[in-house]
Symmetry: C2
Subunit: 495 residues, 2 copies
């Protein structure tokens, strides 16, 4: 049997694999028959001029693959049923429908408003909201914190850990929520962004057919999570003061609402701050009808006119508010750190569910961010970005004022905070956005924030991620698009 070792030039694999190949092909070509006994390991080793262990490894491999089986007195013999027979033609027919690809039955056709990365790169002027200016983040500071985390007994933080989050980070978050946002006495769970926070709450509280009240105009990524749990969405009117409490009163009278999803601080997408009287009224209605509230406070810190107004969660005697926040806007989105601050009653059930969905967040980043909070970097960055974004908001408003002065039919409300401005262009906003895209300007439009995607006249201008200079240039092009769409001669704009 010396020909069992095939000396293929360039085959540098271990000898045992080449021996296994030789025996396998001897079986496949019929030189070795099912049931046939092989010589002993020692005998084979002598025949092949290799060590006995090498032969043993080859035989083990072939036994594992099913070509050989153990016979009497530890001798190997060719298997009675060969692995290849499972796949080779039997009685002239292939035993398996090999050409037939599996037809997958999907029980969910997850509807998402977007799938794939946002395509910022394709546009020179990107006015989409929600993205901070990533160029201004002090990456060196977080690098130093990560280094520190990886130097100081990292082995204690790299195992399976608490599904609620890294205790050191949670402590800092709790202090921050208490002192800056007046939210306290709650249990904190670290999530993978706001998305996982909404998803977990939807899975825990909503069953198919349940009604969930949402702001319309509103945040479609949250809608997707509610729909994935089987919710029917009940739209609540949004006006120039934010969501209308009367709309909630009507909806609550008409439907058994199981959850209300709100963005009170800076309404998404209009960035209006909900007045305190409306907040109180909404809370009152929710309490009376016993409907939990999901308060999504995604960019609390970016408030320019006065102190941010206290969240609903800061005064929640009925303990029905689930509060969420994120580091995506304060730091950067790819960090994937969101926060849930929930009443005691929800904590254990949420952790149990969380174990099933993603188990826990990565601890290294939480540890580094906690260090960054401790060394003052977090506060410093916040203060800086608040000034930067306020300037950018003002630049955007100036550009609009100039366009209005030139006779363009644009109107807007200056937002007290947030990272975007909601404007009315008094014409088909989708058409304007299309014209703008041709000029390499990206804006989102009212239809993206409607349940039925019906078109409207509003545009959302995210001003946070561009410099004042970029904003001015982009706004000039955008206003040209508005002018073109309203059929005014472009000359009227550029003079």
């Amino acid at each position: 049997m010396p020909d069992l070792i095939l000396s293929i030039p360039g085959d540098n694999r271990p000898a045992y694999l080449r021996i296994a190949d030789g025996v396998r092909s001897a079986i496949q070509t019929g030189r070795l028959k099912p049931g046939e006994k092989l010589p002993s390991g020692r005998a084979l080793a002598r025949l092949l001029g290799v060590h006995r262990h090498t032969v043993g490894a080859a035989m083990d491999e072939l036994v594992a693959e099913g070509w050989l089986q153990s016979g009497e007195r530890r001798l190997r013999q060719v298997s009675a049923v060969l692995p290849s027979q499972f796949f080779e033609p039997q009685n002239g027919k292939p035993s398996l429908p090999q050409n037939r690809k599996h037809q997958w039955r999907l029980v969910r056709s997850a509807e998402t408003s977007e799938c794939g990365p946002p395509d910022n790169k394709r546009y020179r002027y990107a006015f989409q909201g929600g993205q901070p200016d990533l160029r201004l983040f002090p990456y060196d500071e977080i690098r130093a914190c990560l280094s520190e985390s990886l130097r100081r007994s990292p082995a204690t933080r790299s195992g399976y850990a608490n599904p609620a989050g890294h205790p050191y980070f949670i402590e800092r978050v709790e202090a921050y929520l208490t002192h800056i946002r007046a939210v306290s006495g709650r249990k904190v769970i670290v999530t993978h962004g706001t998305q996982e926070a909404v998803f977990l709450i939807a899975q825990l509280l909503i069953k198919p057919g349940d009604k969930v009240a949402v702001e319309e105009l509103g945040y479609s990524a949250a809608w997707d999570a509610f729909r994935a749990a089987g919710a029917e969405l009940v739209p609540l009117r949004v006006d120039s003061d934010g969501v209308d409490p009367d709309a909630l009163a009507e909806a609550a009278a008409q439907h058994r609402l199981r959850l209300i999803y709100l963005t009170p601080h800076h309404q998404y997408p209009t960035t209006v701050t909900l007045p305190a009287c409306r907040r109180l009224r909404l809370y009152d209605i929710a309490c009376r009808h016993r409907i939990p509230i999901f308060e999504d406070d995604y960019d609390h810190e970016f408030h320019y006119r006065c102190q941010p107004i206290a969240p609903l969660a800061s005064s929640d005697p009925c303990e029905l508010v689930v509060y969420s926040s994120t580091l995506s806007k304060i730091m950067f989105p790819s960090l994937r750190i969101g926060l849930l601050a929930v009443p005691d009653a929800l904590y254990e059930p949420l952790l149990r569910l969380r174990m099933i969905v993603t188990r826990q967040n990565d601890v290294l980043l939480q540890d580094a961010v906690a260090r960054w909070i401790d060394n003052g970097g977090f506060e410093r960055h916040l203060r800086r970005m608040r000034r930067v974004y306020q300037e950018r908001r003002d630049t955007t408003v100036e550009a609009l004022e100039q366009a209005q002065a030139r006779g363009l039919p644009v109107t807007w409300t200056v937002p007290d905070g947030g990272m975007a401005l909601w404007m009315d262009c008094a014409t088909d906003a989708d058409a304007v956005a299309k014209r703008a895209a041709a000029k390499s300007v990206h804006v989102t439009t009212e239809s993206a924030y409607r349940l039925d995607h019906r078109p409207g006249t509003h545009l959302r201008l995210g001003f946070a991620s561009q410099t004042p200079n970029e904003i001015r240039k982009g706004m000039t092009l955008l206003m040209e698009a508005v002018a073109e769409q309203t059929r005014r001669p472009a000359a009227a704009v550029s003079d």
Copy 2:
């Protein structure tokens, strides 16, 4: 009105907040009545001796809170309906059931096998499986890679990104899966550990009442994810060769199975490697009955006797295998990087669902790991740990051999790979584990891997996370526990 500014000692808040407090308390105590007009901003500023803008900020705050409203000629007046009235007693009755805490209706009572961090710290000798030796990870290497990631244009990687994962990382993973695991021609999605991978597939393929076949003994965290999707679990027998294909054939004949969850490479928890003939037979049955297979290949690389055997996913003509892996064992669990490699047909639906659940993994860590793969650190660490774990397996086996030689009724099969050993102590394993825990030795028992948690005689000895010396000491104590439980005098063990 100069008494409006309350000069409380130690109150260093901005003047506008103190002015707002003063006006608010004047309204609350009735000194200012609903509808009453306030003096102009200029007049108030003169009265209070502050700048007009300070008064403006205070008024804005009170308008936002609902205490004031805008009257004629821009004058502020006290609101007709005060915010406090929403909460204060009306007609002698409180308007809100404030003492009544919200009664949460939970639509899922997520059953998890564990909730909370594993309590390694409480035991001196931790034989739980699945945890690599975190003390041996080269944290400095990953620190250097993270630094690099944060130095080289980090802004391009910190925004919202591709939900499938970081393209640079995915490229490296695909090359790795192709060359080391022979798994190719699939689409890769990065997940938060194996847990999110199982969860996503369960959500996509399983609806309430569906039958899912699982190995028993098996992995309860995966069971939890299937149950969360409403699955009824159908157990498949596991014997000394791994899962029994006859059990699958019977189950498939009896039930409409919607998914089969398998750990072929190192069966969890027994660490047996499934022989190739069984793999082929299982695949054949799955194809004939058109049942998708979830192949969880969680510690492929740690194989000591020969080359790891190719996964089911490496030869999947029917395209019905979903393949998953994780960096939790190769690197460390708190990293939260898992991998799904799926047939084309599942890719888009999975990404849509993924957008809803957690959107994406954090990019920074993916980028750093890709750099670590590129600079050879990954392969180097793998080679090292394979040697280390093999030695630890052998140390564990030696300790068992010595115990057996001393007359203890322990039996085991030496696993070809993996990070744990499955042993039979021929007595109540839970009782042994309890005795061991009292000696500060942590082991898991057969009952944890049973659907009905019925007790058995097997223990799982995770050998990866302890040094040979720790293993020897821990095994001595564990064998004492076995001896005590089998009512042999402890002296028989220690001589």
